[in-house]
Symmetry: C2
Subunit: 162 residues, 2 copies
């Protein structure tokens, strides 16, 4: 088990691409869980390039949430996407590159029903850790539940009315 | 991924104990998923003796259902039971012993809110495989959804009104 501490931002322009390299294509699905009075943990199956993972994420508490992640065979992930995830699939390319001080940016470029959305994430050793904000960094959306990938799989970006 | 084919019976008397040996204590939990119009896959975390597993089970189709199982650290399983499973925890002891023809019986003795319930399971290579029915074997409940461990975690045996 690991506890993830991260903050999330919009991306204001393309300035991050120069440092970004090629990226790895990802396909993610979220298991159908129906209507719930209390939000259950999010169960995610992810194919990330040549690898695949099954992840259980707890309920967010500030910018932290518990996370249990296990590597699984890609064939299992493909079968689960097909059998369990229905339309709740998010496709994106993730770009990972140094953010200074040993930290890393993860910029996600979304496709299909989330086309047009880009997010940038940084994982921090503690909630109060300072970091350099590059010029391309947009508004912080850490606390906005619409930007979680689970929410994007249910209510995709191109269908938002803002 | 594995597809499980099995049938389930009640236990009519103690005749199975002579062949059963000591048994392994299990604690299982099912993640809260709330009220759902379509049943989602069942996600289960299991501690079985000194080992632990995370399992995703598809919707039953006859006596078959898809199953994806991964061994995980026991500490992870304990943390997930605590964080995600609430009261949806089934405790039982499983006894495994030969059923002839290379098959095995798994007899489960339940505790806590399911005290008094015993079930016997046998995993078969095909739905139509014949097997010896020992004297202690009771009525078949393969098709009765109340006896799945997921259901027993929600609606335990001692609370049934029959």
């Amino acid at each position: 088990m690991a506890t993830e501490i991260e903050r999330k931002f919009l991306v204001a322009n393309d300035g991050w691409r120069a440092a970004a390299g090629r990226g790895v294509r990802m396909v993610q699905g979220y298991f159908e869980s129906g209507i719930c009075t209390a939000p259950p943990p999010t169960l995610r199956v992810r194919i990330a390039g040549e690898r695949a993972f099954l992840t259980v994420k707890g309920r967010p508490s500030g910018v932290s949430r518990s996370e249990f992640e296990y590597e699984i065979p890609v064939a299992d992930a493909e079968a689960m996407l097909l059998e369990f995830c229905g339309t709740r699939i998010v496709e994106k390319i993730r770009y990972t590159f140094p953010a200074g001080d040993g930290l890393f940016w993860e910029v996600d470029e979304y496709f299909k029903l989330n086309a047009g959305l880009f997010t940038a994430e940084i994982e921090l050793p503690a909630e109060e850790t300072a970091f350099v904000r590059p010029d391309w960094l947009g508004a912080e959306v850490s606390g906005d539940p619409r930007y979680t990938n689970g929410a994007l799989s249910r209510n995709p970006y191109t269908l938002w009315r803002d």
